[in-house]
Subunit: 204 residues, 2 copies
């Protein structure tokens, strides 16, 4: 199948950076759906992230119905789960500190839901991936050092492994790209098996 | 301790990219030591990578003896180990194919030796880190698709997780930055504990 346009339904800079690194052409059209309603209603993180990814893909489909039919929409939603708690993005320094302090010296799960939709078709694949992430045990002063970098902004769990959080991520278990919010090894397999698209054939 | 210059004793683009992402100022002075001698003599990969990292750091120390004394040299060496075989960099397409074919659909170890040396002192710390990397089971045609990207060039094990190899890396277990040839979470801890240097305090 020839896909002429890949649409990333996200304004996450980490997801954008990932697609740039695997050198496929794409454009960004965020969904701007309101997530609050779903987050209040759905307490199971696996169901939540897949529901949100699907809703984002469907919302972007509505936005671009007149586009070329040979387009794929990729949407995703990521949460951090520690025990029973689902952690999203921090709104300010204090919330970022509170989240990071809880995550230090232990392991949490990073769960991403992903939806892939072929424009104007009934073809919609929804899946998820999860990675266990273990942090070093930074003290409060070091956490504040990190918060001052502002890199926690807009990131689920208030960190990004792509930047300075790599200094305190002791280990991960699972997909690396999933920790950045888009499991590209899963995307590769879904596109190959379900859409007959080979991501290696692009080369920008 | 105030460190005025950090010297990366490596011309690896992945190591350079890592230090850029954690936003510390550094300059690159490769050691250019001949590795063949050590690789023939030392068959234990853990001893080999630590020996090579140490020799690289010492060689660069000789090059820059007249530099500011407040300099740190960081050197590293990475190998891929599958069973009893140590795999380095491929020299051509066929060797890259042969290495990647062996790695597909199974797990291997990525081992990095790292040396940190304070210029003009007797302070030299050598350590290592290892990460288990599991590949999807790509077929020969897909391996050739990857080889055509040229991204295998100059990389231990003929791949880089930073680029399109992320499409077929199913999972990792351990440090992500180690897979790129420099375990920065270990570097952070060594600099803090052994050299009293806080990597968060840099901000370029």
């Amino acid at each position: 199948m020839t896909i002429e346009t890949i649409i990333l339904a996200s304004h996450s800079i980490d997801r954008k950076a990932l697609l740039l690194r695997i050198k496929i052409p794409f454009k960004i059209i965020p969904s701007n759906i309101s997530e609050t309603h779903y987050k209040e209603k759905i307490k199971n993180p696996y169901i939540l992230v897949q529901k949100l990814a699907k809703e984002k893909a469907l919302a972007v489909e509505q936005k671009v119905l007149k586009e070329n039919k040979n387009s794929l929409i990729i949407a995703a939603d990521t949460v951090v789960v520690l025990g029973q708690d689902i952690m999203g993005k921090a709104q300010d320094d204090m919330e970022a500190f509170s989240i990071l302090q809880k995550l230090m010296g232990r392991s949490h799960l990073l769960i991403t839901g992903m939806a892939v939709l072929k424009l104007g078709s009934n073809r919609l694949i929804v899946d998820y991936d999860e990675t266990e992430v273990t942090f070093l045990n930074l003290n409060d002063e070091e956490i504040w050092d990190y918060i001052k970098t502002r890199e926690w902004k807009g990131r689920a769990g208030a960190y990004s492994i792509r930047e300075r959080a790599s200094l305190f991520i002791e280990s991960i278990k699972g997909s690396y790209s999933n920790v950045l919010g888009l499991p590209v090894q899963k995307l590769y397999a879904i596109l190959k098996e379900e859409f007959n698209v080979n991501l290696f054939k692009y080369n920008i």
